[in-house]
Symmetry: C2
Subunit: 203 residues, 2 copies
């Protein structure tokens, strides 16, 4: 008897009984990643959440990852120095890969100031499912908005290594999409991303 | 004009425009986490993948996280010492929280040999959405199965700190479910988990 049970339970590594392709086929669209980069206060998270809501209403699985659920969670052990920013993005990339594999489109909103890091991110995903969105806004306008009072704290020296004040931001050279939030309002911004997603992911 | 645009784009942190509750309501079931613990070769991943497949066929969003997609990805920087095992589980827990928040049920298959670690995991989730499944199988039977030839390598000293050979496994005292894979075959094991999930998550 024992032999039979063992045979029945022969435990081998099944390389994904349910694959991303299965999920995408069942969903009727591809899963991918939208990477929002830009200065603090440019509008990255706001646009990402707006897109998420629109997709949700259309029954398309997506999920926002941003500082709020990453920096306060899995990456609460990391700071804002060069190495920690790298590790921050490395982990986010791997998490995003899991979501994409699970058929869920990731809307990732992170300052991600370094070109080198963003290029590394892109290399981790297939070309046609990685969409870099540069959320553009002049520093002085971001500082005027200052939604979380971070610029104020950075000016006061309370926040160190703050992008735009005491740490650099390298403007993307060839993003897939530029959203200028000085020119577009939130509805227009969301629409631009959604339309680009429709082309990329065949939504 | 500028003033108007800024007002339109007033960037504030929207605390989840789409909440887990919204997703669960739309899906018609709750999202949660099934934590499979047990010796290497006990059958954790196999059962998890089987459950995933059944849920997928019923259009219920779930996703397996296990050594294959975690240890080779986000946690490739970690080893198997006590601290690294703790960090391994800490990250997995936070990743799982994101998935649950996204409305996707996590099927987590990890040896997770320490009672202390598993208790800490449980505390990170609401009681009624965390399900601990002890995948039970005698060490000598697991070693006979040895699906990845890990026991062999551990005996040869190639794999260090291998649970069951050179590292301890603390048997769960009060798991939500025990699956004895010496007695149940794979179909029966999957069924037992699915039925328990139906009660917990109102599938």
């Amino acid at each position: 008897m024992k032999g039979i049970y063992i045979k029945n339970n022969n435990v081998v590594w099944h390389d994904g009984l349910v694959t991303m392709e299965d999920r995408n086929r069942s969903n009727g669209y591809k899963s991918g990643i939208v990477w929002f980069t830009g200065l603090p206060g440019a509008g990255k998270s706001t646009i990402a959440h707006g897109v998420e809501k629109e997709l949700f209403e259309r029954n398309i699985g997506s999920y926002v990852v941003d500082g709020d659920n990453i920096r306060h969670g899995i990456n609460s052990d990391l700071g804002f120095g060069r190495d920690d920013r790298k590790e921050n993005l490395r982990r986010i990339a791997w998490i995003s890969k899991l979501f994409v594999d699970a058929g869920v489109t990731v809307l990732a909103a992170f300052i991600s100031p370094y070109k080198e890091d963003r290029e590394q991110l892109r290399r981790m995903f297939e070309d046609n499912i990685f969409l870099e969105v540069y959320v553009k806004c002049r520093p002085e306008i971001c500082e005027q908005r200052d939604p979380k009072q971070q610029y104020k704290k950075a000016r006061a020296g309370i926040l160190k290594q703050f992008t735009g004040i005491s740490a650099p931001y390298e403007v993307p050279e060839h993003p897939d999409l530029i959203i200028n939030t000085e020119e577009l309002n939130i509805g227009e911004s969301i629409k631009a991303v959604r339309e680009t997603l429709e082309r990329y992911l065949k939504l």
